[in-house]
């Protein structure tokens, strides 16, 4: 069936379109305009609406062992949802697999990346992803604190052998890319190290964090994995040391692409009597000057949330700030991790400055194709706060009202009040559609050209940007209408996007031996097979470069 989407204002920067035009879709894909426009079987009038590709979230913790542990740790949070539907901020958290799919779709998001899947928890992550309706999903698999990689680096093994190991891990776990989280830091923490920087060495291995990052960056590049190595830097959240870590890692890109996650959490200096200040302007300048580097923000918004991270060392340190006062820390093989509840208070100088630093970075990084829209859900805030963040970026009067309400003394520690920039619709489309698709190598989405997957979000323009982006007028997923007037009307299942890659036979045999001898585990257990997920089409493969 040929469907004509008629008369909408199409904002499709990937194809240089920003104006009123018709779109056509057939069998789940966008197609070229037929020579006879009236030949469409169905026409939907979108005049007066803004039409964009479905939005893509490149970094949101939506599935897996740690996310589920957070649910287990915070039943009170979920209870708030079930007893007061539709009322409070907590009720919009998107806490279950079901809610995750529905809430994302209602905002016009159609692809979401779970960025921290441990290789041993890959099946768990994919089981949860399979239960998330509507949206497509993808995962980044975590390496960089694992015994084998560190041993291979220490023993001077070839780049090819290391790449084979990385390829095996990506293929087994059905990931789309690779992330490293405080490279070496979790391993060091297991040896009772409590602070760890880029040039520190992991005890016993004698390998530095920098060596691990650089090795993985090269392996990902050599394997032609489209998404560059996704790096969670050292010293997250530590005033002074965090911005030093970000600066050193930005400088370490050295001509190859590198993605730095939730950069806001590294924008902290030590000035002032509280020893906490903004390094947002300085980090933005460093990013502007280094075209190898992309970043996502990890914006903080006020309210109760929970931090979920495979940075075991920093999560352990964060236990002291847990609110409510409880946390779970994991000593897994390789990364481990932690779940620490957090209540970002609008009345706190620290939390308010964190909020401001995120916005400084959003607004001072000049190229919207190198900065990505995230709250590091749920670490900075639940993804359900996105509509408010769109409003903060697009409307400086909204920003001024928020700044006005900050605790006394915060405004003079941030350059935010002087920033007049407002994101345009086109820049929003670049940041949340065109550019994420390019960064992930998923060329079938993020744009509205012929051949693209018909993931389309349609918004009713409004001066209230939170209203506009909070409830899409229509959302089409694979050409099917799934949201109308901000409410879900159909809930088909999407797929997990996985990289088309194969493991080397020799590495396969080596890893069978290694996991058995080193850990008493079967290497086969790491392999995610579609049949275990109970979906007709659990995966869609994405090609390497």
């Amino acid at each position: 069936m040929l469907t004509r989407l008629k008369g909408g204002h199409v904002v499709d920067p990937a194809n240089g379109v920003n104006g009123v035009t018709d779109l056509y879709m057939k069998d789940g894909q966008l197609v070229s305009a037929p020579t006879e426009p009236l030949s469409a079987d169905e026409a939907i009038d979108l005049s007066g609406h803004v039409v964009m590709a479905g939005a893509i979230d490149i970094h949101s913790h939506i599935a897996g062992g740690h996310v589920n542990t957070a649910r287990l740790l915070l039943p009170e949070w979920h209870r708030a949802f079930s007893s007061r539907p539709g009322e409070t901020a907590l009720s919009r958290v998107g806490w279950t697999t079901e809610e995750t799919g529905l809430r994302y779709a209602e905002m016009g998001f159609t692809t979401v990346v779970e960025p921290a899947m441990g290789p041993q928890a890959a099946l768990h992550a994919h089981l949860e992803l399979a239960d998330i309706p509507i949206i497509d999903k993808a995962t980044l698999v975590v390496l960089g604190n694992d015994d084998l990689l560190m041993s291979m680096i220490r023993d001077g093994e070839s780049e090819a052998a290391i790449a084979d190991y990385v390829a095996w891990t990506v293929a087994s776990s059905r990931a789309l890319g690779v992330k490293c989280i405080n490279a070496g830091g979790s391993a060091a923490f297991k040896d009772n190290v409590r602070a760890f920087s880029l040039d520190d060495q992991v005890p016993d291995y004698g390998v530095s964090s920098r060596q691990i990052v650089k090795t993985l960056q090269k392996a990902v590049h050599d394997l032609k994995i489209p998404h560059p190595l996704h790096v969670h830097c050292n010293n997250l959240g530590v005033p002074g040391a965090s911005s030093d870590a970000a600066e050193a890692t930005i400088a370490a890109s050295e001509g190859l692409p590198l993605h730095l996650a939730h950069i806001q959490f590294y924008g902290y200096g030590t000035e002032g009597k509280r020893g906490f200040s903004s390094e947002g302007r300085r980090l933005a300048a460093l990013i502007n000057a280094n075209p190898d580097v992309t970043v996502d923000i990890g914006q903080v918004m006020f309210g109760q949330t929970v931090t979920i991270s495979s940075d075991e060392l920093r999560q352990f340190a964060g236990r002291a700030q847990a609110s409510p006062k409880k946390s779970i820390i994991f000593d897994h093989e390789a990364n481990g991790g932690g779940v620490v509840p957090m209540d970002y208070k609008a009345t706190s100088f620290f939390n308010a400055l964190q909020w401001a630093i995120g916005l400084e970075l959003f607004l001072l990084i000049e190229d919207p194709s190198r900065v990505f829209f995230t709250t590091d859900h749920p670490n900075g805030a639940p993804f359900t706060t996105y509509p408010d963040i769109f409003a903060l970026l697009m409307d400086r009067e909204v920003r001024a009202r928020w700044i006005e309400a900050l605790p006394k003394g915060v405004a003079k520690w941030t350059s935010l009040p002087e920033i007049t920039r407002e994101y345009t619709l086109e820049e929003i489309a670049v940041m949340t559609r065109a550019s994420p698709a390019r960064l992930l190598g998923t060329s079938d989405r993020g744009h509205l050209g012929a051949g693209a997957t018909a993931d389309i979000s349609v918004y009713r323009p409004s001066d209230d940007k939170a209203e506009m982006f909070g409830k899409a007028a229509y959302v089409f997923k694979d050409g099917r209408l799934v949201v109308k007037n901000g409410s879900v009307v159909a809930r088909p299942y999407g797929r997990a996007l996985t990289l088309k890659t194969e493991a080397d036979k020799g590495m396969e045999a080596r890893l069978d031996r290694y996991f058995d001898e080193a850990y008493g585990l079967s290497a086969q257990w790491f392999k995610v097979r579609g049949e275990a997920l109970g979906r007709e089409t659990p995966f869609r493969e994405v090609s390497c470069l």
Partner: protein, 393 residues
């Protein structure tokens, strides 16, 4: 907002090759479609359907949750009471816990508390204790030391790589003993309790001097307070050195609880009686609801051997690996395949600390359907009924 979770199994049995020997209504052999329809109608007509049993395939609990959501029922697991203290302690107070694979490679000192955690878990024991720690600057190459608090002899650990000794302690005093070690660690005053004079301080010092300590215990051997006390000890130790807890879980309840947690936000017991999932450990206990007669219909999954006995007066839908008992309250019965034997199974693997997909060990095209498939068909039928009702209204 109505909760409408995943349809788990997409493949449906076809009528043509239907086998009349694996499902019954009131003891009479019927087709799969008839039995599925009867089960769905029965659940839909009931004011409070209760789903329970052993759900030892994650696909089965995923499908079971969907049935309960569509029928407005309660979901429980027969092993839930055994993991309840762990769940309550973990969500009240948190924990620092480790994977067995990491403990194998890193733990130079292991404190075992209470009854043998490895009873029926030989593979897990072997995984952790067959070798000495071989990584970590503070732990590599050390002889592993094991202390078993609460045993008269180190029995099982005689076979472990390393040196084992025991400290006797009556079961009823274990929680107190852990509290005493915590007091000794903190430099607070304490009574000796079950320890010999100086014993508690020595044990605390031994733990603090570990490079990477592990505290291992049987998860269902402690109440929530005991569990929390052990987690507290591990937390305290981490202020000074590294230590991690390993509560050992038996059975499929913890895996099922995890699936319930991602699907509903809660680890079970969950009710969909009000639409959105509600959680209450006491209120939604299957035994209580069945015993009191509040449950108008019961759906029981019995995948283990010899579990087909049904004690409920409520009309029951039984999914069992065995033939249903004659003359019971069973209304609709399905013979199901054995998970992991006749069909694939997804289960929590203790050695892995996560889920593993096991291929059927003896796949047989003539074997009865999996519980997951039957439950999915019932859910699909319930969804159709709801859609028809919606269309009619």
């Amino acid at each position: 907002m109505t909760f409408r979770p995943a349809s788990v199994i997409c493949r449906l049995g076809t009528e043509s090759d239907d086998d009349l020997s694996t499902q019954w209504i009131d003891g009479r052999p019927v087709s799969t479609a008839e039995a599925v329809r009867a089960a769905a109608e029965h659940l839909a007509a009931s004011r409070l359907p209760v789903l329970t049993g052993d759900f030892n395939d994650i696909s089965a609990i995923r499908a079971g949750l969907r049935v309960a959501a569509l029928a407005g029922g309660v979901v429980d697991h027969e092993g839930l009471e055994a993991i309840r203290p762990a769940i309550e302690a973990i969500r009240d107070a948190g924990i620092v816990m480790g994977a067995p694979a990491e403990i194998r490679r890193r733990a130079d000192r292991v404190l075992v508390i209470g009854p043998d955690p490895f009873e029926g878990q030989d593979a897990l024991f072997e995984q952790i204790f067959a070798v000495a720690p071989d990584i970590g600057a503070r732990t590599k190459g050390k002889t592993r030391e094991i202390v078993w608090l609460g045993a008269s002899e180190p029995q099982r650990f005689a076979k472990a790589s390393g040196e084992a000794r025991s400290i006797g302690c009556p079961a009823a005093e274990l929680t107190e003993a852990v509290g005493i070690v915590r007091a000794a660690l903190a430099g607070r005053r304490f009574a000796d309790g079950p320890f010999e004079p100086g014993g508690a301080r020595a044990l605390a010092g031994w733990l603090v001097d570990a490079g990477f300590g592990a505290v291992v215990f049987k998860a269902d051997a402690f109440d929530a307070i005991g569990f929390e006390e052990i987690a507290g000890l591990v937390s305290d130790l981490n202020a000074r050195t590294r230590a991690t807890a390993l509560p050992v879980f038996a059975g499929s309840a913890f895996g099922s609880a995890q699936a319930a947690t991602w699907a509903t936000g809660f680890p079970m017991r969950v009710s969909f009686g009000r639409g959105a999932p509600d959680h209450d450990m006491e209120l939604f206990k299957a035994d209580r609801l069945i015993g009191s007669g509040e449950a108008e219909a019961v759906l029981l999954v019995a995948a283990g051997e010899g579990r087909a006995g049904v004690s409920s007066d409520a009309a029951t839908i039984l999914l069992s690996t065995e033939e249903p008992p004659a003359g019971s309250s069973v209304k609709v019965a399905f013979r199901i395949g054995r998970p992991g034997v006749d069909h694939d199974q997804v289960a929590l693997e203790p050695r892995f600390g996560s889920f593993v997909a096991h291929a059927a060990s003896a796949p047989d095209p003539d074997a009865p359907s999996s519980a997951a498939l039957i439950l999915s068909m019932i859910a699909d039928h319930l969804a159709e009924m709801a859609a028809e009702k919606g269309a009619a209204a």
